[in-house]
């Protein structure tokens, strides 16, 4: 690829990304009332999307091979336990990550 072609390719990726981010705001402008259905989605989507993001992070874990997802399972339980106990975001995340690093570096 020439430099110009590279710039165009990167430009297309920028355009696509910006489009996906701005589109909802352009489709449902502030002045007009947002349709009921869209407001409903805005309220219920986040919980589902956070679920999707958790699954997305774990997408390459295979229960049937390698370490069978055991380090991931243990570490997520650790994150949840820490969080329900202390309710401190940083402690839960740091604790879970250290737990995972120890498991994959030393045990599995």
């Amino acid at each position: 690829m020439t430099l110009t072609q590279q710039v165009i390719t990167i430009g297309m990726v920028v355009l696509g990304t910006v489009l996906t981010r701005f589109l909802p705001f352009l489709l449902f402008p502030a002045g007009k009332p947002t349709p009921r259905y869209i407001r409903y989605l805005g309220k219920v989507l986040p919980s589902a999307v956070f679920g999707l993001l958790v699954v997305y992070c774990l997408k390459n874990v295979s229960p049937l091979s390698g370490s069978h997802g055991i380090p991931e399972f243990i570490s997520i339980m650790a994150v949840a336990a820490l969080h329900l106990w202390k309710r401190q975001m940083l402690i839960s995340i740091a604790g879970g990550t250290v737990c995972y690093m120890l498991l994959v570096q030393l045990v599995f």
Partner: protein
């Protein structure tokens, strides 16, 4: 008189900024760890693929969508096909549409800041700005701008450093990428503890898992999104009726 007022206004403004920064920064610390790790990895990847550090540096500023930037390396190494580049971007980043719909309320009414907030709406900035309980008295617009800006700065500096020092880094970071998983688990849990009904959260996990099994790790996102959208739409009717009978339906 006027000079004094502007001076006081300036001090006031500085305090607003400082308070917003202080409130925002702790929320971004996990992202710092995650983005530096991923950003360094991305920079190193570009470095070993034969691109100078200018590429990860400028791409982290203009694209600022992690997974898409990794894919762009492949696009740049392949044959020139701008339409394919656009189509793949729209597919991979389609989840931003969901974020936008959820943020229609929050990312509005903050003046020029809205433009940057929407431009910088990556997974992590969206998650923090959607769930964070911004303390009383802290400017919401500036809080969200600082979250977004700090996150972008972490990603930018990580990927640039990775691009520069690419081949020199050697220490055992295996497993550090779990920081992102841990963060999303915490955010999911926070949302869970906050809401009364868990139908949507459970649907999100269940449908994504089913789609992961059916379509595999590389192709499950788009079907998951359609299935989630469909399910929530079908569930919408009874849920709304529920809300209005409880009197608090909004």
């Amino acid at each position: 008189m006027e000079g004094e007022q502007t001076c006081a206004g300036g001090r006031e403004q500085k305090k607003v900024l400082r308070d917003a920064f202080k409130a925002a920064f702790p929320h971004t610390i996990p992202i710092f760890a995650g983005f530096w790790f991923l950003g360094l990895t991305y920079g190193i990847y570009m470095n070993v693929s034969g691109f100078s550090f200018w590429y990860p540096m400028l791409m982290s500023l203009t694209i600022f969508a992690g997974s898409m930037e990794f894919v762009t390396v492949n696009l740049l190494l392949g044959a020139f096909d701008p339409l394919q580049a656009l189509a793949m971007t729209l597919m991979i980043n389609a989840r931003h549409l969901f974020y936008g719909i959820s943020m229609l309320g929050k990312y509005r009414g903050n003046g020029w800041k809205d433009i940057y907030l929407i431009f910088g709406m990556c997974d992590e900035s969206f998650s923090i700005n959607y769930t964070a309980e911004i303390p009383e008295g802290v400017d919401r617009g500036w809080f969200m701008v600082f979250v977004t800006l700090l996150n972008q700065f972490y990603w930018f500096s990580g990927s640039t450093l990775g691009g520069i020092f690419g081949s020199l880094i050697h220490f055992n970071t295996e497993g550090l990428d779990f920081v992102m998983t841990a963060m999303f688990v915490v955010i999911f849990l926070e949302q869970w503890l906050k809401e009364k009904r868990h139908v949507s959260a459970l649907a999100g996990i269940g449908i994504s898992l089913l789609c992961l099994l059916a379509f595999g790790p590389e192709h499950f996102i788009i079907p998951s999104m359609f299935a989630i959208l469909g399910t929530l739409t079908l569930l919408g009717k009874p849920m709304e009726a529920d809300g209005s009978s409880g009197g608090g339906g909004r």
